[in-house]
Chain length 212, copies 2
DNA sequence: CATGAAATGAGAGTAGCTCTCAAAAGGTGG
DNA sequence: CCACCTTTTGAGAGCTACTCTCATTTCATG
């Protein structure tokens, strides 16, 4: 949620060893985000202005921009990516690459859904409906893709900057992105874990055999 | 360049059977685009405003927005995609899927580079440097990905809306997008065709064997 | 408590983009 | 050639995301 948060500790305001200043910052940050989610639920994304968000969060518009560079960033917090990468790198060499990915994907999905399933769903829906949000999300995923490279390269003994590794990383990202979209398009009814598994199958082995 | 253009005919203003109105529209469209490319080359993307573009193209700002929904769209004309799809669908069933893709990619790259290599390069560079342009380009590529689905499904005898086909299409798109980025990051020095071939290899067969 | 640093608020300014409405230009039938 | 209808255009007002600056307030520290 904020730098140096141990990730799985329940997020927010407590944590006494931090100074008052730091605690206030965290509070403000989550106040802004909560206000945003609430307003979006009431009025939709486009109808929600920064001014309204600021008002409900009881800060000035300037402060909103001080905490989040863009409106889209308020709803898109992919602070989990670095931690996923960490975990991916920590998997034993004996495990196959795809198994490692599957494992880490499962774990982070569980963590996200455990902490705030509502937010995960809203985010997924926004990614489908609002182009700007989708764009920003893709941006952030390709940043993740860039980080992925080094992990891939380590495992496979390849140059992380080679075209092959780059392409492999981004095609994984693209495929997994599509899972998210497909899931949201079907109103988050399916089991995300199963969808991810099927996607990884396709990425690893290509399309299943003809049926017709 | 515009609906019902036979694609390889040199693009623009001539074509007598069209009414004066249509011809003027085409002229305006290319005037706006030319102005934009020129200004970007002089001052960079961000420093170039719609007002400047309008002025140089000798139209009003309103007209600019009438022709292009966003500033990014002025530089990003992927009007080739539908024609690629067409061609892809026209390839013989006997040819392997990847061979078909390779063939069509080669052809459209040749066409683009033949018509306006400068623009292709500027576009690629913008996609690397300007997040908004990159985002818009990805958007447009995933639209292409959606179209790709039906072609893939036909060839493989699968349901175009199945997760498998969706994931496959988007992972191809992601991988090929990365080729474009990598090419631009290396200043468009490499042979695009070769890069595409290597990318398709990776998408089809996964990463090459370990080297270390 | 005083001094310095960091966070905030207020406000002005820019630019992308939308909408409306009236004027102009292209097409068509008499 | 003219009158009529449709499409395109320009002018301008308006909204909002976002940036910058500067004065004020709020926390931290000796």
């Amino acid at each position: 949620m904020t730098p140096m948060t141990p990730a799985h500790s329940s997020p927010l305001t407590d944590r006494p060893q931090l100074g008052l200043r730091e605690r206030k910052k965290i509070k403000t940050r989550t106040a802004i985000r909560d206000a945003t989610y609430a307003l979006i639920k009431e009025q939709g994304y486009d109808a929600t202005t920064i001014e309204q968000i600021a008002e409900r969060a009881e800060v000035s518009p300037s402060t909103v921009f001080r905490y989040f560079p863009t409106k889209e960033d308020i709803v898109l917090t992919d602070e989990y990516d670095p931690m996923m990468l960490e975990e991916l790198r920590g998997r034993p060499d004996s495990e196959s690459w795809m198994d490692s990915v599957r494992y880490v994907m499962h774990r982070s999905m569980d963590a996200l859904l455990a902490e705030d399933p509502e937010a995960v769903r809203i985010r997924a829906h926004l990614a489908v409906q609002i182009p700007a949000v989708r764009a920003r999300m893709i941006e952030s995923m390709s940043a993740t893709g860039r980080l992925l490279r080094s992990a891939i390269a380590e495992r496979h003994g390849l140059d992380p900057d080679s075209l092959e590794v780059r392409v492999f990383a981004m095609s994984m990202v693209g495929g997994l992105m599509e899972v998210n979209i497909a899931w949201a398009e079907n109103d988050c009814r399916d089991d995300l874990r199963e969808l991810v598994d099927r996607a990884l199958q396709v990425i690893e082995h290509g399309l299943p055999a003809k049926k017709a």
